[in-house]
Amino acid sequence: MPAVGTSVARKDGIGKATGSALYADDITFPGMIHGRTIRSTIPRGRVKSIRFDFDTDGFTIVDWHDIVGRNSVDLIEKDQPFLVESEVRHMAEPILLLAHEDRERLNAAHVEIEYEEETPLFDPEQSTVVFKKIDIMKGNPAGALASADLVVEGTYRTGHQEHVYIEPNGVIAVPEDVDGKKGVAIFGSVQCPFYVIKALRCLFGAHPPIRVIQTETGGGFGGKEEYPSMIAGHAAMLALKSGRPVKIIYDRAEDMIATTKRHPAIVRHRTGVTRDGHIVAMDIDVLMDGGAYVTLSPVVLSRGCIHAAGPYRCDNVNIRGRTVFTNTPPNGAFRGFGAPQTEFAVEVQMERIAEALGIDSVEVRRINALRPGDTTATGQKLREDTSALMVLDEAVRRTDFLRKREGYRGTNRALGLSLFYHGAGFTGSGELSLKSKARLDLTPTGVRIATGSTEIGQGTRTTHAQIVSDSLGIPYEDVEVAQPDTARVADSGPTVASRTCMVVGKILEECAHEMKERLNGLSPAEYHTRHGAFSVERMYAPPDWIKWDDATYRGDAYATYGWGCDVAEIEVDPDTFEVRPLKLTAVQEFGRPIHPALAQGQIEGGTAQGLGYALLERVVMRNGAMANAQLTNYTIPTTLDMPELDVVMLENPYPGGPFGAKGLGELPMDGPAPAVVNALRWLGFDVREIPATPELIAGCTATA
């Protein structure tokens, strides 16, 4: 029986269910000590003096003077220091590192830091420091706006969002001898082990041998994409200085205050339409708050801008984006990577366009939805795997949308809808330059997958093993998956961007085909007995038709897209303005589910995270720091906040993916917020901002 398409047992299931799976904080090493980060308590200024108000005996203390290589986290830019030298740019910025074997003494140690404070900048609209600008131009939007029958304008805002992975950030750095050289091994909760390698090479210069081993990871959502480089660098510095293993585990408050969040955004739309509902011009301005350092902001902005026009056809489009500096902790990767912000904006704008035209919003979407052969804002000609209409029609039919919405008129219940899409894999030529590799090793009992792709709860090990199992024609149980250890596995690129199943899975499929040929009819065990082990390693080859120009932002932005339509049914309490989602129907097309239960889990989880983003999750910033950095006051949805979910998985295979699969991880995040807010609009609340808390809704002037 084929493994692909069935919900086989998760490779990591038993370990996690029984508690034998080891997370970073479960692990100790002989002689291990604990590390702690001393952070800035001002948003902007200079460090004047540092005083240790404790007995430093037995402590290892590291500051920027200890850095032998370069004091910068190597990402897109090298602007962010591992440790403050003098200038403080945001609250909770790392200044000093302490380590001690007794955690209580470590926590009690008080460091007095005197600052020279400067006036911080918190408002991105006032910022003149631009990290990245993007300008996407198609046709003649100015001319088309001028001649449109109607122009609809609107400004939309989205807030920070915190990842709330179950396991906070944490690593252990262990000094190790490699061929007589003093090196360091990092064990940690990370999404991208090879990013950590790159960052540590820069920090230490090329000298010490470094490897990174991913421990069992309790969720990431992008929050463990770039940030672990920082904490790993800190632990490694303490380990090399003390000569002992050093563990740094953030508690929830530190994790929330110090690590990355989703970029807040302000998106302005001017849309030209004809009387009969055709979009003729889109002018979109996207502003994202990058925080104090560049980190991944340019690429978040890029994906946000590429998705900013929504899944709609339009010949004249201008999308201008910029991401700017503020004195707040850097914002970073988060499931959806810029698209949830811009797709929220365009989907509420679509609802308002329909209102202005007096045409039903489902009809306006139908008229303008992208079809095969249409071109996107970047000029990409879409292929047969374009399913905007398919998901829209199915969602409308399945929920009996029009009739039900009409029936709710005059009550405190309503239906709202959103249509969305999400590009899978790295943008443009990104997958080409990544040169991702994957490897299959023949073992005495089967095969072992050796990739840098991390299991962070989404099912990497399982889906990869399914793909290999069927491609090789051996039982699923005979496929094992190596723990990612950069000294032992192939660099298959980061575990991000909905690419792990689709891109790395594809390389593994090809490895398996090559291995099958070499086995020549023998089972792995038979071959191994007769000829011994061998490995197959291959590099990813993106579809050859992809053309992309990074300078002009023209071309094929993504090899394929997933498509979704969410219908939210909600009820609003007339006294308290609390929104209760009653039911959410998520119709999503992502090629083909390799593992239906895991795919459904991605959609359910992403929808919950999207509903939290829409209604509950408000990061309260005070003086540049998160003031509600606890799970008590930063409220993610509980089971009782979740509505009934109806998940529908439609298929439209992508020829370039393994067994037709596209990426899925991020897609479900894009839809819930606009669907909910469009339902609120139907109830008379002109909401243009999320999270749409009761406080915000209460203050919204009625639409009707």
Partner: protein, 287 residues
């Protein structure tokens, strides 16, 4: 439990921010023992520890010496003393929810208890702890204030009965003395329809942004949480309703009588608007 991850490793004890090695706990088996310990020794009582543990984890818990009273079973009783409902200080939310006496005499406390935290907290959290903890957002407090509950305090030598509305002297401050324990909460007979509404930050595991309890009688009794430094009754609003004012007039009185604030959970404006909305809803639904 040991397993290999690269090399030897073992499981590690959990850690919280407060230095637990410096904490000292005594356990009392009876009320007499508890009170005599408190007479000789300053210790902070621990009941269900659901509030204390949070502070411990955040490193904000100042006391270092504790008296665990969880085993003092005589404080668990829920009973009638004549017409008075007596709720032992250690009665948990779960026991309040399951008690036929509470269901009959004070159904809005059942309602409030059901909305506290989640099942784990309901199993462990106590009424006495909610009262002693003195948070303005404590969900049982408006219920107790609206029915003129009496807090029974006992020390080794004396017993005092303090009306709940006089129990609090300011934000997280009470008249309780260090050598006293809350032993019970007494509920005088309640006439009229009871009404409770909690507006939390989400559907469960939520701190109240505003919480209201009311009793509809000739002179209505209404109490709010989270709109002032302590739980408050609104006597002028009550009087205006009793004297036949319209609900609109009463809502105006209310908006002069409470002074809610902005905090990380909500805004003064929202709290004010929702307080008046809920006053109206109370009036409509109990009318």
């Amino acid at each position: 439990m040991a397993r290999n991850v690269g090399r030897q490793c073992v499981r590690e004890r959990d850690a919280v921010r407060t230095a637990i090695s410096g904490l000292e706990v005594r356990r009392a088996a009876s009320l007499g023992e508890a009170l005599s310990i408190l007479r000789d020794d300053q210790r902070t009582p621990i009941a269900g520890a659901t509030d204390l543990y949070v502070a411990l984890n955040f490193g904000t818990l100042e006391p270092r010496r504790f008296l665990d009273i969880w085993a003092v079973n005589e404080l668990r009783d829920i009973s009638m003393n004549g017409k008075t409902l007596v709720l032992g200080a250690l009665a948990t939310y779960t026991s309040l929810i399951r008690s036929p006496l509470v269901e009959r005499h004070l159904p809005m406390l059942v309602e409030a208890s059901r909305q506290v935290g989640g099942p784990q907290i309901q199993n462990r959290g106590t009424l006495g702890g909610n009262v002693a903890n003195a948070s303005p957002a404590g969900d049982s407090l408006p219920v107790l204030a609206a029915v003129d509950a009496v807090v029974v305090l006992r020390s080794a030598d004396t017993e005092r009965r303090i009306p709940l509305t006089k129990f609090y002297t300011g934000y997280r401050a009470t008249v309780m003395r260090p050598n006293e324990l809350i032993v019970a909460i007494e509920i005088p007979p309640v006439e009229g329809r009871q009404w409770f509404r909690k507006v939390g930050t989400r559907a469960a595991q939520a701190i109240s942004k505003i919480v209201v309890a009311g009793v509809r009688a000739a002179v209505p009794r209404i109490a709010f949480g989270s709109v002032a430094p302590t739980v408050v009754r609104v006597p002028e609003t009550e009087r205006s309703l009793a004297s036949g004012a319209t609900i609109d007039e009463a809502a105006r009185v209310l908006s002069r009588e409470i002074v809610p604030i902005d905090d990380i959970r909500s805004t003064a404006e929202y709290r004010m608007r929702v307080a008046t909305n809920l006053l109206r809803r109370f009036w409509i639904e109990t009318g």
